[in-house]
Symmetry: C2
Subunit: 191 residues, 2 copies
């Protein structure tokens, strides 16, 4: 039993629910340096250390980290997370509401960027006029470095990068529902 005081790589950890730094990092898909950083800034310090100084994260630490990761995922800066973890539980909703406002502003920014981007593409002179949809799309795909005859390439790129992006991209380019369906049919024939 005294040999089981420190969590090795052999299952002892799962009994006592104690994690080394790399183990707990792996659990949450984080890196070791992230945990080191969280310790440095006082966001999450392990509740114990071994005699030789190894960080030991308890089950309670794991739950705290779970909270941290959740807040981080919704974009709350780490110092705000720290404030919240120290505070009583009451003030959470204002923070979330503020975050919502900020996110909507970010989305507006992205929309504006997209608008400008489209203007630049239009100004490039290649997509002017009212060419048929497929011609436009093919031209754009070619210019984007996709081989001729591979109009589906840009589609596949989208699928890889962002599952939902493709439809939104087409709509953002200002194509109608009908045109989008036409393009999808075209893609499916080729792939």
């Amino acid at each position: 039993l005294p040999a089981c005081r420190y969590p090795g790589r052999k299952g002892c950890a799962s009994i006592h629910r104690i994690y080394t730094i790399s183990k707990i990092a792996e659990v949450f898909g984080l890196s070791r340096s992230t945990l080191l950083y969280y310790d440095r800034i006082g966001l999450l310090s392990p509740s114990e250390r071994t005699a030789s100084g190894y960080r030991l994260y308890s089950e309670k630490d794991r739950r705290t980290l779970e909270q941290i990761v959740l807040y981080r995922e919704i974009g709350v800066p780490l110092d705000k997370i720290r404030d919240y973890l120290n505070e009583a539980h009451e003030g959470v909703l204002p923070m979330l509401a503020n975050r919502l406002l900020a996110m909507n502003a970010e989305i507006d920014t992205l929309r504006e960027q997209q608008r400008l981007l489209l203007e630049m593409i239009e100004a490039e002179g290649s997509l002017k006029g009212k060419k048929p949809f497929l011609e436009k799309m093919t031209h754009l795909a070619e210019k984007a470095g996709i081989r001729p005859g591979d109009e589906a390439g840009i589609h596949r790129v989208f699928e890889r990068v962002s599952p939902e992006a493709h439809r939104r991209f087409l709509e953002f380019l200002g194509f109608s529902e009908t045109e989008v369906r036409e393009f999808i049919r075209h893609i499916k024939k080729r792939v």
Copy 2:
């Protein structure tokens, strides 16, 4: 005429179309330190200097800066902008297309963050169940620090921060078109 070699604050600049650093910053709504930074990283160095070392931006520099600002606005990192300005003009569309892909990924990220955020609000326990829309909305507004009887407050906040955000916020919260219309009517009665 020799007195007019340097662009003072008195209109001489507008004749020769030469700008001092603060002047050209003002033209584009940038700060002086931004221009200093662009010079440091070799993105935009003024084509001339006075004998005493003052930066002098020519009309050509102004056009270059116009390009830079445009690319920056659509989110292209400065080193890529530099690459593009040095290269021949041909490769612009691939860059734009890549930027489009990245932006759509960013939007997906924001959507995912919003989804998580909503789950957190729901988990807070206050908005569970199928309470009527206005009750939910009022509760959220109160929790967000808006005075009771001021349900329109959150609406006004949205208007200030983001003109388009309000409708999207309601839709994102999962409210139906009918419910949204009901809320808008409610707001208009009070304001």
